[in-house]
């Protein structure tokens, strides 16, 4: 897998398939990037579980946090890692100890751990590194353009509206 560039179709397929996301390193501080991403993914209908040992039992963004991936009471589709590149290795190993395995391990912008990625890919887990799921979702659904950001997507298809005000979605798999 080439981790220097990902096709839009690959990222779109991941974001459509995934439903439950464990966010390791989620912060309760509402101006931290991890809090932004957590709130955004919740608003897009994902079941997000904040993982932060210091916050276990408290709520982050209105959702109960847990101390570790092992403490999650339901299958996790994707583990999103908000830790530095070195620490990400240990988080990947914890994710690979889950049963069932997550389908996707996603490392945030600036986070890359090639060895850990190789371990996960050997087990059949899809790995995305050095990307943000909020930015990727907003880019692919078109919302990011509202901030004057170039999405890199050129298409004459109509964006998919979601319920509520000013909300786009990724649409169905046939789109």
């Amino acid at each position: 897998m080439d981790h220097d560039r990902y096709d839009d179709a690959h990222i779109r397929a991941i974001l459509r398939e995934v439903k439950t996301v464990a966010m390791v390193g989620a912060s309760p501080n509402n101006v931290r990037p991890s809090f932004f991403v957590l709130k955004y993914l919740l608003s897009k209908g994902y079941d997000v579980i904040p993982v932060n040992p210091g916050q276990a039992g408290r709520e982050i963004g209105g959702v109960p946090a847990v101390a570790s991936l092992a403490a999650i009471d339901r299958p996790v589709d994707m583990v999103d890692i908000f830790r530095n590149s070195q620490a990400a290795g240990g988080v990947v190993d914890e994710a690979l100890a889950l049963d069932p395995l997550p389908k996707v391990i996603w490392m945030q912008l600036g986070v890359r751990n090639e060895e850990a990625a190789a371990r996960a890919e050997q087990r059949g887990v899809t790995v995305v590194m050095n990307r943000c799921p909020k930015i990727e979702y907003a880019r692919l659904c078109g919302e990011i353009g509202w901030a004057g950001v170039s999405s890199g997507v050129v298409s004459s298809r109509k964006p998919t509206m979601a319920a509520g005000m000013q909300r786009f979605g990724l649409g169905k798999k046939t789109d």
């Binding site: 839009d8 509402n30 809090f35 608003s43 901030a147 170039s150 298809r157 005000m165």
Partner: protein
């Protein structure tokens, strides 16, 4: 759609736009509204806190303007852009984000006169101190760097034309100093030159000129190259430090490679207020769809007109980088191989009187102060824009008595040349 990268002409037509999600309107609608309704208090809070993408108030974002921003960002190869009321407002927005009172920046001595005024006077009242440097002399630029220098500002193709800047050489000076290079790309447009490919970090435009191209709308834009590491030093607190405007949020950390554009928007445009009208954004967008076609014609026409003037007995000299013996021809071939632009100056042997007579004798050319219009434009700076200066000041500004400036339009070139030919015959 395959995942190959679309070409420049495709991006000119499509980038940033899609059928309107509510109505299917295929042209980008003019969202002529001040404000946008909130779904509920939670969504409003997420928007105000920058946690969600969306529109609040047209002073900060607008869906018509956003298409213009995303399109210009794509054409320049940048990450994001912020459209504002004029090119001057774009420059104000950039420096507001970079500078604190007492800071310095380096600017090329060969700039649009309006920029020289803005830097010399208005910016000084904010305590932003310009240091002028001749950008033909790279050592002089490097010598102007001090610990207070926050940026270098150049034009890729300098107004009134003919001067091509060695962007990569200046970018190397900026990189060594740990400061961003800002390039005004108004005269070249991204069709001729993409400064990010040569090491620039920020691009600004007056969209009023060739980008809009029809001389009907004011507008400016700031493009973020996404290349500069704002957190590498504490020189840029707007980007690298927690901001009291947003409860302690740190903009570069939060928005990454489009953080500069976000800072210009939410710390600059929000508070300085120089917002562009959505109607102007619409007209500028419509113009940009034909940018490649127009620029090709502008440049081809200008080349022929410059060659014609060069051979005219009443013309002493022509400053146009597209002429093989021009001082800047090698740089033009390197940085803008598709053309040398369409604005240039020439000198009349008959001096001041001949210049005044020429602008009075033309018929097709319009006597105006603008450039980058579909129409061919002419001005004699010594009798108009530079009238108040002394002879010595006019010479220094490249606006001596004999100087005439042209902005060549997209009419039939035979008609443009015939008009000049008839007018030159009249001036005696």
């Amino acid at each position: 759609m395959s995942e190959s990268k679309p070409g420049f002409s495709t991006l000119s037509v499509h980038a940033g736009s899609a059928p309107d999600p509510a109505t299917g309107a295929r042209a980008t609608p003019i969202y002529q509204t001040t404000s946008f309704a909130f779904e509920d208090a939670d969504q409003a809070a997420a928007l105000f806190g920058l946690q969600a993408f969306g529109n609040i108030y047209t002073r900060i974002t607008n869906p018509t303007t956003a298409v213009l921003e995303a399109r210009v960002a794509a054409l320049e190869g940048g990450t994001a852009a912020v459209a504002v009321a004029s090119g001057h407002a774009a420059q104000l927005g950039v420096f507001h984000t970079l500078m604190q009172s007492g800071d310095e920046f380096i600017a090329s001595t060969k700039l649009y006169g309006g920029s020289i005024n803005q830097f010399n006077h208005s910016f000084k009242s904010f305590g932003w101190n310009v240091r002028w440097a001749d950008c033909d002399d790279i050592a002089a630029v490097e010598a102007a760097v001090t610990p207070k220098t926050k940026a270098i500002f150049i034009e890729s193709l300098a107004n009134p034309g003919g001067v091509v800047t060695d962007i990569a050489a200046i970018a190397a000076v900026a990189k060594k100093a740990g400061i961003p290079l800002i390039v005004d790309n108004t005269m070249a447009t991204p069709y001729l030159c993409r400064p990010f490919e040569h090491g620039a970090d920020i691009v600004v435009h007056s969209l009023t000129k060739f980008m809009g191209g029809h001389g009907n709308s004011m507008g400016g834009i700031i493009v973020d190259g996404g290349t500069f590491d704002w957190s590498a030093s504490d020189k840029y607190p707007m980007l690298s430090q927690p901001r009291p405007e947003y409860q302690g949020m740190t903009i570069h950390e939060t928005f990454g490679n489009f953080g500069f554009a976000i800072a210009c928007r939410v710390l600059g445009l929000r508070d300085l207020g120089a917002a562009i009208s959505p109607f102007n954004s619409f007209l500028l967008l419509t113009g940009i769809e034909t940018l490649p076609l127009r620029m090709e014609k502008h440049c081809a026409n200008a080349q022929k007109v410059a060659e014609y003037l060069k051979g005219h007995p009443k013309v002493e000299w022509v400053r146009f980088a597209g002429l093989p013996d021009d001082k800047y021809h090698a740089l033009q071939k390197r940085y803008m191989p598709k053309g040398a632009g369409a604005v240039f100056t020439f000198g009349l042997k008959g001096g001041y009187e001949a210049g005044v007579k020429l602008v009075g004798a033309v018929n097709l050319f319009s006597h105006v102060a603008n450039i980058g219009d579909t129409r061919s434009l002419i001005i004699h700076p010594a009798s108009t824009t530079h009238r108040q200066l002394t002879d010595a000041q006019r010479e220094a500004a490249g606006a001596g008595s004999q100087v005439v400036r042209l902005s060549i339009g997209i009419e039939d070139v035979e008609d443009i040349i015939a008009d000049l030919d008839a007018a030159l015959a009249e001036i005696g």
